[in-house]
């Protein structure tokens, strides 16, 4: 939940909540991909990336999205920044 959702989340109307929930569920329905399959894909992606890169597994998001009439699978894999450790004297 980002800061805007925290600030304005409570002011979302029940109609827009219905619309957003419906859009999500229909992307799943239309593509016949259950949330369980999506979780499995997410775990697999984490495995592949973690093998090569420094990532935070908890921050990985995999979701279905709709853009005009195209459905797509969107994966967000934030890279963990390499910390520069300063040695203190």
């Amino acid at each position: 939940m980002n800061i805007f959702e925290k600030l304005f989340g409570s002011s979302e109307t029940s109609a827009s909540s219905a619309k957003n929930r419906l859009k999500m569920v229909l992307v799943h329905d239309r593509n016949d991909i259950s949330p369980g399959v999506l979780r499995q894909i997410r775990d697999d992606i984490i495995g592949v990336f973690a093998h090569h890169l420094n990532i935070d597994p908890d921050a990985v998001e995999v979701m279905l999205d709709e853009n005009d009439n195209d459905n797509m699978l969107v994966a967000q894999v934030p890279l963990t920044p390499t910390r520069r450790v300063r040695t203190n004297h």
Binding site: T13, S14, A15, S16, A18, K19, L26, D29
Partner: protein
């Protein structure tokens, strides 16, 4: 094959108003001077007869026709209140497998010779009964309500209609409450169109007079003077089914979204 056109009313979800729409659309088309037969395809859960007020006149039903126990004309109950309107009831004591999609096509092909419009009341669900109602359709009308479950099921049904190459269907939004939409507590027409990507053929407001008319077995459009807005909404659907371009009535609220709707409906 005759000239009659088959219109199937379906929804996926139960209880959204398919039977009410079937009764009123059939009545409105007959009032416009067409010969119309309404068919109850919900074998085992017959209801179109009571909604139309014809329940006391049933002798034969759809399954009797299909199984050869009567001629088609004997199962057509003529509505004595309205010239040109008749109804074929479903069997009450059989199940949906008593009839096949081929049977429905054959029955409708006979009816096409005799009437202008055949309006089929589909059962809820996506199984055999729905397939029966879909098979003979020239035009499919999906009824939904502005709520998540009904819209979700409508989406599923729209997909199946397209898969059977019976699309594109057209949508009726029933039980619409402009005041709830205005305060953000009901999906708007634009929301539903945005979600389902489908043309709208009618918007029927929530109206307790629909229940009152069902109590009496008199389709609401038959009663002149009552429930004006709802009656107009239904007659407009009949006119659009005929192919007329009818602007959508303004459902009295407030923020002008109906006028925006008009903009893209005519486009």
């Amino acid at each position: 094959m005759g000239h009659g056109k088959v219109i199937t009313i379906t929804s996926g979800k139960g209880g959204v108003g398919k039977t009410t729409v079937t009764a009123n659309l059939s009545t409105a088309l007959a009032m416009a001077g067409y010969k119309v037969v309404a068919i109850d395809a919900d074998i085992g859960l017959r209801n179109l007869d009571v909604v139309m007020g014809l329940e006391n006149r049933i002798v034969y039903d759809l399954v009797d026709v299909v199984e050869g126990r009567c001629r088609l004309n004997q199962a057509m109950i003529k509505d004595k209140r309205l010239e040109g309107l008749s109804m074929i009831p479903a069997a009450q004591t059989r199940d949906k497998n008593a009839i096949s999609p081929t049977d429905m096509v054959l029955v409708c092909d006979q009816l096409r010779e005799e009437v202008d419009y055949i309006v089929i009341d589909s059962p809820a669900g996506i199984e055999r009964g729905f397939q029966n109602a879909l098979a003979p359709a020239d035009q499919v009308i999906i009824v939904t309500n502005p709520e998540v479950s009904a819209v979700r099921d409508a989406d599923r049904i729209i997909g199946m209609i397209e898969a059977e190459e019976k699309g594109p269907g057209k949508l009726i939004i029933n039980r619409y409450k402009p005041d709830m939409v205005a305060r953000g507590d009901m999906l708007s027409i634009e929301d539903i169109v945005d979600i389902l990507h489908i043309d709208i053929i009618g918007i029927i407001p929530e109206d307790e007079k629909i229940l009152i008319s069902t109590n009496r077995g008199q389709p609401l459009v038959m009663q002149n003077g009552h429930a004006k807005e709802t009656g107009v909404a239904i007659r407009n659907i009949a006119n659009r089914v005929k192919g007329d371009e009818i602007p959508f009535i303004d459902l009295a609220v407030k923020d002008g979204f109906m006028s925006r709707l008009r903009g893209w409906v005519t486009s």
